[in-house]
Amino acid sequence: MATTAGNLPAPRKQRWWQKYRNQYILFAFVFVLPALINFAVFRYYPMFWAFRTSLWDYSLMRGFTEFVGIDHYVRAFTGDPRFWESMRATLYYVSGKVPLTIILALLLASFANQERRGMGVMRALIFVPVVTSFVVVAIVWGMVLNYNVGLMNAAIQSLGLPRIEFLTSPENVMPTIIGISLWKDVGYSVIIFVAGMRGISQEFYDAATVDGANVWQRFRYVTLPMLRRHLMFVSVISTLGAFQVFVPVYTLASQQRVAQVIVFYIYRLGFIFGEMGYASALSVILLVLLLLLSVVQIRILRSDDV
């Protein structure tokens, strides 16, 4: 065995490598090229196209009609109260949804993390809304929360309380939509936290117990620090997702001005009113905002590693 190894010296392999090197690399690129083209055409190019379109008046029929420079941006920042309304609605949604997701997911995960009979069923129940489409979830809840014939108001009335206008009153519509999205999305974070909690060695808890830590202290000083990466990931993902909320507003609250979030506003401008140029400008603004946000959050993630 040793002698055959000696008969096959490294240089020969090197020679095979060099001889076929160019062919090898060409062949190798065949594997990766289709994916790279997809990303270029359907992900990067639209981004640049958005920049370009945002500087023009653009219509689907006639294409680029008139160069307007930064007029669309000026309009967004100075002459369009609807844009600011939509940004306010989006921020309201984000600031409600993200913290609630994290808190509720941590609570549910600390419970669903235990190994007990029936816990697998509970985890599955919590996760079913995640795999269901948001359209179905939104419509189901739209019907559950219907003022006249919905299940929720029937239950409330059965308890002898007055009915609530969940979706039809401007004060209630945003909290309702946040609640619905929470119900749909929380299972995803729960599974991430459960995975994280499984990775924490029991020894830490034993040590804390010996030191006299109670349940809350064990959670605060063992679980939370050990879940730092998972917490960061969940907050990044849910923040980016929350800024892009569209479906529940489209299906449940398209008539409610207070609920018209930025992506819905962009959709209406572009596809209902045909103002593709202005819609692109708003897309660029949101794009820059989200890119900055994710860069900041990745920075924080990185510094966490040290």
């Binding site: 289709p34 994916a35 189901v140 692109s280």
Partner: protein, 325 residues
């Protein structure tokens, strides 16, 4: 108990003079300990069961309500909702299947009213399967390149792929529409498929799976005279089946549930996938609840059933994105 502990015990509780009394005291202690442990366990159990019921009510009752009432006519749905009883959720007294037949568009009358879930389900299924197949081919190829091929400076390309993940999909939907429109694909079946044939997330996940395989396998295949393509199909793919199943399920679910893109990309009603079709039904001015319930069951049952049978893979795909991210 050892004799030393006995002594300690006797020193704590004053004057256990006789052995008889000592035994009684120990029995008493043990009984109390046992009772306390029992109470603790039972409060734990009861708390757990209360939480079970809360979770089940919060997460399952809307779904059960929808499934149960999809077998009622719209009129009896409203009649049974108040007061809330078991009949609100389960249609013991009625079995009304017309909702499904109408939602699917199987009668001429329903078709005249514009219901064609059967067709929409077909479109959704066809586009999801096409994307899964294409994605298996192209994402696997790309991940194979990054995980196992020796190409200088391929890290630059990897950064290109990872940066793609940062582009928010909902935000670029307007320009994506314009690009796909330029390609002449808007309002065709291919608009639902072509933009998604490769995904940076799936490439990234597959790189993780492929990198776990020992490189000796490839070397053995090279010695046997296999070329790069044969290494991929005969060594890498057969050894990564669980990973490939995970990403396929993820991709299927993504395409099946996708709403925003098909909403803008196909305005032709006969090409609407199932999510767009039910959204249209619901936003009709006077929706027939029974029919909408049936439509929702049809639209979500495939993915939910898929999930119930392959839970492991779903959880893994989540943990994969979370822990390694």
């Amino acid at each position: 108990m050892t004799s030393r502990e006995d002594q300690k015990l006797s020193s704590i509780s004053n004057a256990p003079t006789t052995a008889d009394e000592l035994v009684r005291q120990r029995a008493e202690r043990a009984r109390r300990e046992h009772l306390r442990a029992l109470t603790r366990r039972w409060t734990g159990n009861i708390l757990t069961w209360i939480l079970y019921v809360v979770i089940a009510v919060v997460f399952a009752s809307p779904l059960i309500w929808v499934i149960g009432n999809s077998f009622r006519s719209s009129q009896t749905i409203w009649e049974n909702v108040f007061p809330v009883t078991l009949l609100t959720f389960f249609p013991f007294d009625e079995f009304f299947f017309d909702n499904y037949i109408e939602a699917l568009g199987l009668t001429p009358a329903a078709q005249a009213m514009g219901f064609g879930m059967a067709r929409s389900l077909g479109i959704s299924l066809a586009s999801a399967i096409t994307v899964v197949v294409l994605s298996l081919i192209f994402n696997t190829g790309a991940a194979y390149f990054f995980a196992r091929l020796r190409v200088p400076r391929k890290n630059i390309l990897l950064i290109y792929v990872i940066t793609t993940m940062m582009i928010p999909q909902q935000v670029i939907i307007v320009p994506l529409f314009l690009v796909v429109n330029q390609l002449g694909l808007i309002n065709t079946f291919w608009a639902l498929v072509v933009p998604w044939y490769a995904s940076p997330f799936i490439v990234f996940a597959l790189i993780g799976f492929f990198a776990e395989l020992p490189y000796e396998l490839d070397e053995a295949a090279i010695v046997d005279g296999a070329n790069l393509f044969q290494i991929l199909t005969r060594v890498v793919v057969p050894n990564s089946i669980p990973g490939l199943i995970t990403v396929s399920i993820l991709e299927f679910q993504f395409i099946w549930n996708e709403f925003f893109w098909p909403l803008v990309a196909v305005s032709n009603k006969s090409l609407h996938p199932v999510q767009v079709a039910i959204a249209n039904q619901f936003t009709d001015r006077d929706p027939q609840w029974g029919r909408v319930f049936a439509a929702m069951v049809l639209a979500s049952a495939p993915v939910i059933i898929l999930f119930l049978f392959t839970q492991r893979y779903f959880y893994r795909s989540v943990a994969l994105s979370g822990v390694k991210g």
